[in-house]
């Protein structure tokens, strides 16, 4: 039984793999006889201490974790402010905190190269005079939210469908799994574009499109975990105790399925952001003047190589964040995968 779900192959997953090659090997415990279990207790440590130790050992993953922390922290602050602003409609804390406005058109400052003269020009401006630096900061919360919502939805939907499929078997399993197969058969980006077109533009539409594409992988993952857990003694014992199927699902199977799935989800976060940016690049999702990293990359393309800063900086940000998630997720997978429960 393989405990790694098929990853969406993309350049960044491959690059992320490089991190694994460089990573230090996790030391093994004693190799005494496998059959007899009279080992001294506590030969396994808890997940959290192992995660901590593995992360601190690998410098790259630590750097990645730092970048993620900064990204998420900033997204939370800016995101809350943007929500507050949209409710009161009269405040603009979100913009004030940046120190400049990424939304105003200002052709007098069009296409200024990066300079240290003013914070607004740190990364240059685009054709419309928008500060690239402020735009990147302003767009961040949306990417973070997309990551969280899509991965969480994927996990929830995947958990419900995948675990029930494995537990109940029969036609329930067949229907759910064929459904999963159907969704997986269509290339992800194509499906997302189609859904995006159907549902229309806008932030919510993109999220829906991504969720539709994302849940099947988790369904497969949860089903695999549940199938192997089904054979374990404690499930049989629970049945004999009269525990109902749903309680078995949520008390016994799901908690013990989570470790490798959480690790994969950390890695997947980066994939979601990448796909979100790709959709924005293609023009699906939030429209200008609201900045989006992917959209900025796309718009700046025709100005390469002259006004290179317009495309390059947003794409560097995407790259950095996705690689960070991949590095951290990879290390987490090493620690948590293969340990069901």
């Amino acid at each position: 039984m393989n405990d790694r779900a098929p990853q969406r192959p993309n350049l960044f997953t491959i690059l992320g793999g490089l991190g694994k090659i460089r990573a230090a090997p996790v030391p093994s415990t004693t190799t005494e006889t496998a059959t007899l279990t009279e080992q001294t207790p506590s030969s396994e440590s808890s997940s959290s201490s192992r995660i901590f130790r593995t992360l601190t050992r690998d410098k790259a993953a630590l750097a990645g974790a730092l970048i993620i922390a900064v990204f998420l922290l900033w997204s939370i602050i800016e995101g809350i402010l943007q929500v507050v602003d949209s409710f009161t409609k009269r405040t603009d804390y979100a913009i004030k905190i940046l120190g400049g406005n990424p939304l105003i058109l200002d052709f007098t400052h069009s296409l200024i190269p990066p300079s240290t003269k003013s914070v607004a020009f740190l990364l240059g401006t685009d054709y419309y005079g928008h500060s690239i630096w402020f735009s990147i900061l302003y767009a961040a919360p949306r990417d973070a939210l997309a990551g969280i919502v899509v991965v969480a939805s994927g996990i929830i939907i995947g958990m419900l469908l995948g675990t029930s499929a494995a537990l109940f078997g029969g036609w329930v399993e067949t229907v759910f799994m064929r459904l999963t197969d159907a969704f997986l058969a269509v290339p992800a980006l194509v499906l997302a574009i189609v859904v995006g077109i159907l549902v229309g533009t806008g932030f919510e539409s993109v999220l829906i499109a991504l969720i539709v594409v994302w849940w099947p992988t988790y369904a497969r993952f949860f089903r695999g975990q549940a199938l192997s857990l089904k054979r374990r003694g404690f499930i049989g014992a629970a049945r004999l105790c009269g525990t109902g199927s749903f309680r078995i699902m949520f008390r016994h199977i799901v908690p013990n399925s989570l470790d490798p799935i959480i690790a994969y989800a950390a890695l997947d976060f980066g994939n979601v952001i990448l796909s979100y940016s790709a959709l924005a690049f293609l023009g699906i999702g939030v429209q200008p003047p609201i900045p989006e990293w992917g959209e900025m990359t796309s718009s700046g393309l025709s100005y390469l190589p002259g006004a290179w800063w317009w495309s390059i900086f947003p794409s560097i940000v995407i790259l950095a964040i996705v690689i960070s998630f991949t590095l951290v997720g990879d290390r987490l997978q090493e620690v948590l995968s293969g340990r069901i429960g």
């Binding site: 059959t35 007899l36 279990t37 009279e38 080992q39 001294t40 207790p41 506590s42 396994e44 374990r232 003694g233 404690f234 049989g236 014992a237 629970a238 049945r239 004999l240 105790c241 009269g242 525990t243 008390r251 016994h252 908690p255 013990n256 429960g341």
Partner: protein, 326 residues
């Protein structure tokens, strides 16, 4: 018919599909390949007795154990509990009186639950209040030799193999079952711990009067703890009788070979049978043991003997007066 029989089976059979059939295969006329894990087993277990189910891998003993504790449904045949036939409608009610201790202590406890939750899981269906459940929990833990105060909040990963098995036993007895199936309860334990657990099982049996079905491949364990022994080979019951009788004078050639294969500290004369355990996908014709039997006769190759009473026990062998299944 044993006096006070708790469990009785009639032609109990369990078949598994050898492999999952795809759509194309199902549509074709090819017959599906089945594995007969348990093949027409007739068995009776008396109240309070300890019956050892002995066999090697592929004998079907684990499947029979699962059938008898209702975790598997029979393909054919019937099971009676206290003279009541087991059906879907009364399965839940009957299950309340049955418990099982599973083979691998590391896998039979939920790693995310602490000892208290694990043991108390069996108590939920009785409508007890909190204080009663707590008392039942403490009693069960003390009965298996663990201090409730010390172990209540521990997780399985903080327990040794022997302690895990004790917790599994505590879980099994907490709900006051009548019948407990124990599947290789000590196979994964060191010798010194095995002795402790076996003593515990004997003590619990004497004190609470459970009926045990002990599944094991270890003859010495079977001999020590059981009143009667049932020997299984390739899904069939081949010999059934009182432990003393069977251990001192086994009648079925497989039982004889099995006993002569067990290394002891007394003699150094191992006489294993020839050949290998048969494939359940393509079992030998007639008597399943015939390819390895030193006394094989023509009839053995063609007809499967049925379990028949011979002197003080039952044997399925053409060497003895027997009735045929066909």
């Amino acid at each position: 018919m044993l006096k006070e029989s708790l469990i009785k089976t009639n032609g109990l059979t369990k078949s598994f599909l050898a492999s999952k059939r795809g759509i194309l295969e199902s549509l074709s006329r090819k017959p599906a390949a089945y594995v007969r894990a348990v093949d027409h087993v007739e068995l009776e277990i008396a109240k309070n007795e300890v019956l050892a189910l002995v066999g090697e891998s592929g004998s079907g003993k684990t499947t029979l154990g699962l059938l008898l504790c209702t975790l598997e449904t029979p393909t054919e045949g019937e099971i009676f509990f206290n003279a009541e036939k087991l059906e879907k409608s009364n399965a839940k009610k009957i299950r309340q009186k049955i418990q099982m201790v599973f083979q691998n202590p590391s896998e039979s406890l939920n790693p995310r639950m602490n000892v208290r939750s694990i043991v108390m899981e069996g108590l939920q269906k009785f409508g007890l209040d909190k204080a009663q459940k707590q008392r039942q929990f403490e009693d069960s833990l003390k009965a298996v030799g663990l201090d409730p105060a010390e172990f209540a909040t521990r997780r399985p990963r903080d327990l040794s193999g022997g302690q895990k098995q004790r917790v599994a036993i505590a879980r099994a007895i907490a709900s006051n079952p009548e019948f407990i199936v124990l599947d290789e309860p000590t196979s994964a334990l060191d010798a010194s711990i095995q002795a402790q657990v076996l003593n515990l099982l004997v003590g619990l049996h004497d004190k609470y009067g459970f009926t045990y079905l002990l599944i094991t491949h270890n003859i010495a364990v079977a001999q020590f703890i059981s009143d009667r022994v049932a020997v299984m080979y390739a899904g069939r019951l081949v010999e059934l009788g009182y432990t003393d009788d069977i251990m001192t004078s086994p009648k079925h050639p497989y039982t004889q070979a099995l006993l002569k294969s067990v290394p002891t500290l007394v003699t150094k004369d191992l006489q294993p049978p020839t050949g290998e355990t048969p494939s359940l996908l393509n079992p030998p014709s007639g008597c399943r043991y015939h390819p390895r039997c030193p006394y094989v006769m023509e009839v053995c190759r063609t007809t499967d003997p049925e379990l028949s009473p011979v002197e003080n026990r039952e044997v399925a062998c053409w060497l003895y007066p027997t009735k045929s299944k066909d």
